[in-house]
Chain length 391, copies 2
């Protein structure tokens, strides 16, 4: 549709969502939230803006360049518009809900704003919905959130869902176990991020063979687990491997039909994750549906490894990106609309709406209600106590 007036101009990356799409988006959000709720995840709703100092502290610091800031004339302090809701939910869990029994299951859904869109996601405002499961280190918790994400997406109508499991701490566990110097580990990390097998072999030193083996294990979960089991990992990596095995087993048992892959060397985008992490895809749909994984809720500093010295509560969870989810869901069926001419008994309208019809009231007396129904894009017209097709 054209934009006849300049007033229609919006800043880049911001959009008006128009009739059918806006209702559809709301329906999908409510379907996801309903699935979270019926699995015991209770909704919280943090505010859109907070003090910059609290929103961008700790792990939030990584979002600083992505965050809109503004002055609060009331407190005379800087505020920030949330670029992400997960930090807010972790804050709520570890402060206001600090005395609630653990594990604590929370869910959230809302809008976030970012200063700049990314290449993959040019939108600067988008919806996030997700859950956090806080206060437990159990692999059953890792499996529960993966399975919940899968089932909620399925309930929302997404098909061909796949989950890629990662252990972003595994490479550093291996390098630590082999006493690799830090600079060598760093160069290895970069080579792995590029999936550059030749470079991994060249700079890997005594870790080269193992990491090449780990790279090769990447793929379907059962095969990956088998290949990883055959590797002679150092003792420091044993906990990561055991947990991965257990989480894969739990997911495969509960949802054998789910396409599950494992990439044991991936860590990009999981810099703040402290254990099993995952990315959700729908085959053929551009971009990620969402991602999640282990972290520390309320920890003061970004976590660099999975040692027990980490501050904060053990937690896991996921966030779904609504724009991608909407691309992965089939278009909604058109809703039949029935036009009610002037004089229609109001109780008839009530009855029709209770039956699931959308009703549109006439505001004028009309000679040809069917023509007016068509003009207003109604599919039906109510006449003589009956619903007639208007098309």
């Amino acid at each position: 549709m054209t934009e006849p007036m300049n007033r229609a101009l919006l800043p880049a990356g911001l959009h008006d969502v128009l009739p059918r799409e806006a209702a559809f988006e709301a329906t999908i959000v409510e379907r996801l939230m309903a699935e979270f709720a019926s699995n015991g995840f209770e909704r919280v709703k943090p505010p859109l803006i907070e003090f910059e100092a609290s929103l961008l502290s700790g792990p939030g610091a990584a979002m600083a360049t992505q965050t809109f800031r503004l002055m609060d004339p009331v407190s005379q302090r800087m505020l920030a518009i949330r670029p992400d809701m997960t930090l807010q939910v972790a804050r709520i869990a570890t402060t206001r809900l600090a005395n609630e029994p653990r594990p604590l299951r929370l869910s959230y859904g809302g809008q976030v704003l970012r200063v700049k869109g990314s290449q993959l996601r040019p939108e600067r405002q988008f919806g996030q919905v997700g859950v956090e499961l806080i206060g437990t280190l159990q692999p059953t918790a890792d499996a529960e959130v993966v399975l919940l994400a899968y089932r909620a997406l399925k309930a929302a109508g997404v098909t061909n869902i796949s989950v890629d499991l990662n252990v972003p701490t595994l490479v550093s566990s291996v390098c630590r176990g082999l006493d690799l110097p830090e600079d060598e580990t760093f160069r290895l990390r970069q080579a792995l991020d590029r999936k550059d097998a030749a470079e991994v072999a060249a700079v890997g030193g005594k870790a080269a063979d193992l990491l090449t083996g780990m790279m090769g294990a990447s793929g379907p979960a059962d095969r990956a687990i088998e290949l990883l089991a055959a590797l002679d990992l150092p003792e420091t990596a044993e906990a990561d491997r055991r947990r991965l095995n257990e989480v894969v087993r739990l997911i495969r048992t509960a949802a054998p039909e789910l396409m599950l892959t494992v990439d044991p060397v991936e860590h990009r985008g999981f810099e703040y994750q402290t254990g099993i992490s995952f990315t959700l895809f729908s085959r053929g749909v551009r971009g990620e549906l969402g991602r999640g994984g282990r972290y520390r809720a309320g920890g003061k500093a970004p976590a660099g490894d999975n040692g027990s010295s980490l501050s904060g509560e053990p937690a896991t969870g996921f966030t779904l990106y609504l724009d991608t989810v909407l691309r992965a869901v089939p278009d909604p069926a058109p809703i039949p609309k029935v036009f009610l001419p002037i004089g229609t008994d109001p109780t008839e309208g009530e009855r029709l709406r209770a039956e699931g019809w959308v009703t549109v009231r006439a505001l004028d007396a009309l000679d040809d209600p069917a023509a007016e129904a068509r003009r207003l894009r109604c599919t039906h017209v109510f006449a003589g106590g009956q619903i007639l097709s208007a098309v």
Copy 2:
């Protein structure tokens, strides 16, 4: 609950909405939006921020002091966080949806932010939900939005709803008809705003008797209509009176049980309204549930009277204030939660959720699942294929 850490501190007027309340709020919003949708009002979703120049132009200028502003590093222009959604919806209607057939029925629901709370509404972030009916001057449209507000609030669980109808243009129509000088009209307006009958008599000049009579008509709708009919209003006020009569008749016919009052001299808060306006209350609940009325959508300047010279499309609509609506709705019934010990067949969980239960999965094997269920505030525990009370 106490706030053990400083990180929990939020700016004045901003709040975390915690578990039960957040879910309840979302349910109420969806119930209202569902009522709007089934009456043919289609949802739109404008962005949280816009260019300041477009958001605060025309009637938006009145909100300027209430609006958070921020710099957009991308466009290098000032943005504003929306203090209100109605202007955005009018913008969408008159630009992107300019070619859609009229009357156009739109609905919206979302969060708005204001720089300062008011005495009645200290919150600086709150939810707005509402509708706009654009492109018609028919009294049937005025009646439709009043009745929709009433029915949607009723569907959301609000009781003792009352509607106060106003004609904010009526006093100036009368004064114009009697050729009252502008300064006299202004003083009269002030006296009427204070409901100061003595002052109205003193400064009213030749309008004193009529306006005293109009003040006295204020009250239950049928009586107000009768008293107004007995007044010898100038010809200039006849259109306003006729429309009020017709709107009252339509509302009384469709919802005779609705508490309907008329205040023919009220205009505070309706400075931008161009005709029949209304405020929604629930008896015994502090504050307004919402308000609405006639305006011009897409008009360039604030409208001062109801002359046909007004720019923009004729429109009416209403906004509900979610904080007040939530105070007017009875607390939700607690949802039964059933605890599923480790080893529970996943299909049993699915079956229970489909039946409306909330399920909470055990993450550890337990000797006493009922005790764990109680600790996690579950009402029931699943054991031996049965749901048992845990309390």
